[in-house]
Subunit: 303 residues, 2 copies
Amino acid sequence: MKSNFADRLANACRTKKSITCVGLDPRVEKIPQSLMTGTSNKAIAEATGIFCKGIIDAVADIVPVVKPNIAYFEALGVEGIKVYSSVCQTAQDKGLLVIGDVKRGDIGTTAEKYAAGLLGTGGENTLANHDAITLNAYLGSDGIKPFIDEAEENGQGMFLLVKTSNPSSAEIQNLKLEGGDTVAEKMAELVSGWAERLCGKEGFSSIGAVVGATHGEELFKFRKIMPKSPFLLPGYGAQGAGAKDIVGAFSSGGNGGGVNASRSIIFAYEKNNNSDYALAARNATIAMNQDLLSALENTGNGF
Amino acid sequence: MKSNFADRLANACRTKKSITCVGLDPRVEKIPQSLMTGTSNKAIAEATGIFCKGIIDAVADIVPVVKPNIAYFEALGVEGIKVYSSVCQTAQDKGLLVIGDVKRGDIGTTAEKYAAGLLGTGGENTLANHDAITLNAYLGSDGIKPFIDEAEENGQGMFLLVKTSNPSSAEIQNLKLEGGDTVAEKMAELVSGWAERLCGKEGFSSIGAVVGATHGEELFKFRKIMPKSPFLLPGYGAQGAGAKDIVGAFSSGGNGGGVNASRSIIFAYEKNNNSDYALAARNATIAMNQDLLSALENTGNGF
């Protein structure tokens, strides 16, 4: 069994001196044409895998974690799912933690089955090997407990959607409840309760939260409600958030989670006169690492 | 292109004189041992497919719609996904509408990719052929619009989680907002707005809602907020709801959606001294049809 996910995440961040998570959203339309060996479904899925593995090779020594998003693979059918599984495996083999961005959510036996497929260690019976996955908890604790049980067995973790980075997240998540809290804050309270389980040696739980980096000031509030949850912070880069927007999530020693960027890293080659996509991704990652590290150091929370 | 999904659903209910949706939740542990030809991943996945197709054959002439739940297939790895796709195809070939219970939810390009994989008609590029899918709208309209766009092209539909059937649904969905509405009611208002699109000739939209049949009285309220949305009503049978609990969703001519039952139909054979599972499922379906139809007739809303 692997050791506690939260500990593994904190350790990986410290070792690599990075809180960057590279999001693998391999939009077929933007993958370098040179990787395409044909127009068949299989050829496109294979090119997608080669692209992702090229990115993984280019960043494996400088980031703690990658986050492949299964939607881009599901859109390539069964061949895409095979490639997804293989990409996750490659990332783990290169020493990276893998957060599967699957945003599942269901109840009872169904949640148990999702948990088995996405957090299991059942070989062929497992859809892909993940260190953690993203989940949607709109259905309440019935929908989360089966995932926690499964994660506990295997030293894995999860990131629950609390406040997402997109503009329309406000439609439900910002609604004001009687008493003054928002729906997202109430979701954060639920997460904080669940995060009493799966706590590691470093003070963090393996039950984390997705909190958009696009809501800078609010981060301090969410951190206060969920003191033990690592945050997965989307929104940096293409979605407009900067390093100064994420500092509220982190405490001393760079502890607190990871900042995700997808498009601004994996498609950085488009802004570099279509240079080597892997090298462009590495350079964009180095720049992001430095940007984030400076911001952490400015608040006294660097490594 | 197929005609409007809401019209196809209403027409199928009328033709079959049934508002029953058979949920295909093929929990491996409960599939008749006689169907297992081996213990390999592939053998188990194949047995799962044979089981589901047996159920489909047994109910195809007496129900309008089936709802395979992808979680049970994902837990069998890539082989399971292949079988899921094949089960959906078989159901469509037998004249059934297929609601893929996938409960996805994401934003922007990612939502577009989920929509392409789950509502596309791209052959190998499509994960499975669905007439509609279930979705989670916690992320707001950014997460739903790409699915509506895709569904519009192909005459498909969707059912958005509003108020789920499980006990802990209250934790988020029943929270009271300033002004007195609950979160679920606000979600219902959003759905009602989205349901202005994809309207069919019979007054219903292809943008429906999941409302648990376990909340009988509340159904009237949700129907009032979402007059144009077909309801997918889980909770009948194993989860404890009865025919009297669902009438609030339906109007004249049996219009209003479908009532789902999974375990109480597909595993009915367990209560019949392990008789023929398909025949037991058919008999359980006939009983459910009659039960629901009587309740509709009692309110003057029968076919």
